[in-house]
Symmetry: none
Subunit: 225 residues, 4 copies
Amino acid sequence: MPAPRFLSDTFCPSRAKRERRKEARPGELLEAALDLFVAKGFAATRSEEVAARAGVSKGTLFLYFPSKEELFKAVIVENLSGRFKEWNQEFAEFEGSTAEMLRYCMRIWWERVGSTKASGLTKLMLSEGNNFPELADFYRQEVVRPGHALLRKILKRGIDSGEFAPIDVDHAIYAVIAPMIFLMLWKHSAAICVDAQSNIEPERYLEVQAELVLNGFLAAKGKAS
Amino acid sequence: MPAPRFLSDTFCPSRAKRERRKEARPGELLEAALDLFVAKGFAATRSEEVAARAGVSKGTLFLYFPSKEELFKAVIVENLSGRFKEWNQEFAEFEGSTAEMLRYCMRIWWERVGSTKASGLTKLMLSEGNNFPELADFYRQEVVRPGHALLRKILKRGIDSGEFAPIDVDHAIYAVIAPMIFLMLWKHSAAICVDAQSNIEPERYLEVQAELVLNGFLAAKGKAS
Amino acid sequence: MPAPRFLSDTFCPSRAKRERRKEARPGELLEAALDLFVAKGFAATRSEEVAARAGVSKGTLFLYFPSKEELFKAVIVENLSGRFKEWNQEFAEFEGSTAEMLRYCMRIWWERVGSTKASGLTKLMLSEGNNFPELADFYRQEVVRPGHALLRKILKRGIDSGEFAPIDVDHAIYAVIAPMIFLMLWKHSAAICVDAQSNIEPERYLEVQAELVLNGFLAAKGKAS
Amino acid sequence: MPAPRFLSDTFCPSRAKRERRKEARPGELLEAALDLFVAKGFAATRSEEVAARAGVSKGTLFLYFPSKEELFKAVIVENLSGRFKEWNQEFAEFEGSTAEMLRYCMRIWWERVGSTKASGLTKLMLSEGNNFPELADFYRQEVVRPGHALLRKILKRGIDSGEFAPIDVDHAIYAVIAPMIFLMLWKHSAAICVDAQSNIEPERYLEVQAELVLNGFLAAKGKAS
DNA sequence: AATGAATGAGAGTTCATTCAT
DNA sequence: CATGAATGAACTCTCATTCAT
């Protein structure tokens, strides 16, 4: 155990706790930003609050992210768009029927996104997207587009394999997405519930919806959802 | 009684700069407010803009509505809560099966609310309700509560008449509401659509969803959505 | 008693209660203005409130008084400066010693001004005079100057008659005025009293002060107040 | 330890545009605020003016004081209430007769408060206290109450030692305060003086008043002021 | 003579962003 | 690198005064 090591840790008084892990800063800021953006919305979240929650000063925030909007984009990448690569691969390797794939997709979505703070970002974009067109563009490009692409691939797989009827994919996508969106709102917008949010079980709700849409997809005759 | 007298009483459209139109003002302001609130959200809509769009000065707005929040409440009443009396009556007088009633309800909702600017108010509350608790309370009280009550009555009618299985009404309500909410977001949040909003036909979407939920309600065994 | 008189009183429906005594309007406005100015100060009193309290519309107020400042001046004249003529005469006719005259002066001041709403106007000028120089000028001209002149005459009478020592009149005036001013503040400014205003009897206080200053004026040796 | 080092530590008056002077700011703002509040009153003083006079921008003011009211309270503390501790101690240590103590009290009050801008704050509260109840409460709590307490202690000392007659202390306090209040108004309210303020010597006036009230206090029989 | 709808300058306060240190 | 003091445009709301009717 080398003695000098202790000296370098104690001798310089300017090295306070916060300096311990410089490279961790952006991550701490992103986490603080996620929490606050989800809790209060984009416009209502003050830069200073984000910095404070991350344990740094206002100035430091702008050192890592040139503006509040760029900070938000980074939060999107960190929590949503950056994970599509992994998800795409997972589905490329999926073995089993497409119906199972779709059920898995919705279940896994709830586990990894819907039930987490990340779902607040989608709710946020739904809410404030119109006021921040650049953010909306970014979100569409980085999240909606790959998300739709993934779903489209799944549906196409079902159609190609003969499991699904030759439904209109672009249209059918929304049948899958709609319950997800509803759940995110139900989770993040107290305004739509009269009582406390006690009367929905998300997992069960998603299962039922999955069966409903699958029913539509599978039944080649009768309905085209 | 000379006939010409009636002529002189008829509406004279001449408008001076400082016109006296107390009767017309609130309506004009409410319409301008509806447009802007729906387009930009509550926080991002400036009082002065509302006034300008109604063709009056900043001060005039506050002559009719004591604050921006009260203006918003008035918009809610005008476009949503004030119309429940009529709707309730309409459903009280409805003749036909409850399944038809529910289909009618969803169709008529789209016609009178969903497809109009009024639906933007719900989207707005979903978006900004958390930042304006008083408005959220008002909305819950004046819109969500009577809306749920109406749906609950419909579902109860179906159960009581034996048409529907004895489903959990409080839960089932959300199966009906979810697609409506989705449609409102789809209409008012460009952020969730990659392309221009050309790939959904709301009426068709609602019909399909209506059949899906009815399928769940009618089947006395197997599923309780 | 001419019959037509009744007709003219009843025939025209536009002659409502408020039109009954046109010439009384300014008086009602002045009274309302006095009440409100005294209660809330000049700046904090809204023109509309004055009009409302007088039972007329905002516009009517400006019909009789071209501005809020002119209204205030009229209130001053009505309640203070316009009454000096009578007071001057009263003192010109006073018979008795100057000491008695001074005692009477202070007592009568309390009765007619100090204890009435009119004293609020002086407190108001003390308070807001600096913010409204034109009003302050007017008040000095119309109230302070004649008031001082009256007091000066009284003191001069005492000196000329040999009752009072040859005191510096301009200086001595303030010995008389100071307790009056204090009483007005005590009456109108809760801010200077810790407890409820229960511990001063104005009449007694004035009597004592009168004796104190007279003691100074009469005693030719020892003190020159 | 090299001597030059101290030189480099000494005050450097160089001032850039965006200077960092956190320590100095509150004091500068308080002084600017005192000047303006005294000159124009609370309501009529604009926040931006205070900031400008202190050489900073509007926003900076609110960096140090969360609102105009809090700024005013801070001015009160800085100039009046914060100094009672010292004054109380001074009087606790006073040696000499209570009559001398009272004379000293009035003289020293004029020196340290009455003749300074601080006296304008009392005049301001008299003026605007009614319009700003929270400020009036604060002033009563922080200034009037300790002020009265101090005077009460002095009078009680005189009574206990047998110097003063057993006067009603709560009442007698006002005999001492009245001339002080008058002087503050005379100094800050041009409205009550016809001519320029040249005809009163405050020190002399206070001395005379001190003798007058002492005359009342000392004479065990005859008068109870 | 009387109304009251309309005006618009101006108030206090917030907050993303900058930059001297 | 990091700080946090400083900025100033932007927001909601008020009210004396005007003037068409």
